[in-house]
Every structure is written in structure tokens, then in C-alpha cells.
């Protein structure tokens, strides 16, 4: 199996993700790990909620990995996204790509996170000390 796409409610496991993509034909792995920041534009963030439209989110992540295998010489691709309530420092997303050579691993990993943020139906609500907002929902 070359792709591993999951929406999870429990904490994501970096080591398990890397162990999954490591393979004998690969010389380089690039891993992107999103983490919850303690602030947005200077406002203190208390926690985040992530909500997904699950079947469509899985389908859109599958589309991204198909594009990746068409565009980059990579061997294994993993995307794990968490939903539910996350605290500062928690990990909402891990993307790991293994390739024979590092250039493809970096390019594919970057492509995945950039595209995921544009197309995959997952929404983030930021909770501040004095209010809350669905990120990017209004101009």
C-alpha cells in the first residue's frame, strides 16, 4: 500500500507516521507537522476545534495523493488529520512523503499541505479569551 489517509480523533503519532513511510528504496523522507499556535495576528489563542465533512475530506485527500503520484517520483504518502478540540502545541496534521531522492519528497510534501488547505473540507474554529471565530469564513 502506497497511501495512508486518515481522519482521527485521538492524538496523531509522529513516530508511527514516519515508521509507516520508511521503505528500503527511499533515501529521503519529508514530514510536515502542523501545530496549534498560541496566537493569531497577536490575539492569544486558547484552543481550537476542527470539524470535517468526513467522506468528502477523505475523497479530496485521495485526489491530492493521486495528483502527487502523477507529478512527483515518490514512493509512499501519508496524510493524517485530527478533528475535535486541540490545545496549544497539539498536532492537527501530519504529512509524510518518502521518495528515492529528497527533491521529490520536499516538493510533494509542500504540494500536499498547500492543496489540502485549499480543497479539503475541514474547518477550524479559533477560541480566544474574548470570543471565537471560524477561520477564514468571512472577509
Amino acid at each position: 500500500m502506497k497511501t495512508n489517509i486518515q481522519l482521527l480523533t485521538e492524538p496523531l503519532n509522529v513516530q508511527a507516521c514516519v515508521d509507516w513511510v520508511i521503505s528500503p528504496g527511499c533515501g529521503g523522507i519529508d514530514v510536515f507537522i502542523g501545530t496549534v499556535r498560541n496566537q493569531t495576528k497577536g490575539r492569544t489563542v486558547v484552543k481550537l476545534d476542527f470539524e470535517a465533512y468526513k467522506p468528502m475530506a477523505i475523497s479530496e485527500m485521495n485526489k491530492i495523493t493521486e495528483q502527487v503520484f502523477e507529478q512527483f517520483p515518490v514512493e509512499k504518502v501519508l496524510i493524517h488529520h485530527r478533528t475535535g478540540t486541540l490545545q496549544i502545541g497539539d498536532i492537527p496534521v501530519i504529512i509524510a512523503v518518502a521518495a528515492a531522492h529528497r527533491d521529490a519528497a520536499f516538493s510533494a510534501c509542500r504540494y500536499i499541505i498547500d492543496t489540502l488547505k485549499q480543497t479539503v473540507p475541514i474547518w477550524k474554529k479559533e477560541y480566544f479569551e474574548d470570543g471565537e471565530v471560524w477561520v477564514g469564513a468571512t472577509p
Binding site: 502542523g34 476542527f50 470539524e51 470535517a52 465533512y53 467522506p55 468528502m56 475530506a57 475523497s59 488529520h81 492537527p92 496534521v93 499541505i113 489540502l116 488547505k117 485549499q118 480543497t119 479539503v120 473540507p121 475541514i122 474547518w123 477550524k124 474554529k125 471560524w134 477561520v135 477564514g136 469564513a137 468571512t138 472577509p139
Partner: protein, 80 residues
């Protein structure tokens, strides 16, 4: 015909529910459904943008809605 529209993110706040039922003419496009929804829920037109998804695919404005389609309102996504 009656269609159910699933809501996510800020759309749940606007609908006041995680889905709404809407009455639309029999042969309706996604654009027409959006217009009906905006009439019923004017705050939708204040979003930065939004899309409809039909059966887990983003729907172009001219896509036709059929009975039994799974329809969802997709406000600007913000995962990752």
C-alpha cells in the same frame, strides 16, 4: 422537490442546525439552490466564499440536483 443541505463550520451557525431542508423546483441547478439558500439565510452572502458539494464532489454552478443527492454547503475551508 425537497432537498437536505448539510452544514459545516460557520454554515451550521448560520442555519442554526447541522442540516436544513429546502423546497426547490424539480430540475434545479446548484446556482439556483444557492440563490434559494441565500434568500432564506442572507448571512450566506456575507461569507468570503462558499461552494456546494454534491455527492462528495465540489459542484459547478450548472450542475443539476437530483432527488437523493447528498448536498453539503462548504464554507471556506481552513484545515491543516
Amino acid at each position: 422537490m425537497k432537498v437536505t443541505v448539510l452544514a459545516f463550520g460557520i454554515a451550521k451557525d448560520i442555519f442554526g442546525a447541522s442540516s436544513v431542508e429546502v423546497e426547490i423546483p424539480g430540475d434545479t441547478t446548484a446556482a439556483r439552490l444557492k440563490a434559494v439558500l441565500e434568500q432564506n439565510y442572507p448571512r450566506l452572502s456575507k461569507l468570503a466564499s462558499y461552494m456546494l458539494a454534491v455527492n462528495n464532489e465540489y459542484a459547478g454552478d450548472d450542475m443539476h440536483i437530483k432527488t437523493g443527492d447528498e448536498i453539503a454547503l462548504i464554507p471556506p475551508v481552513s484545515g491543516g
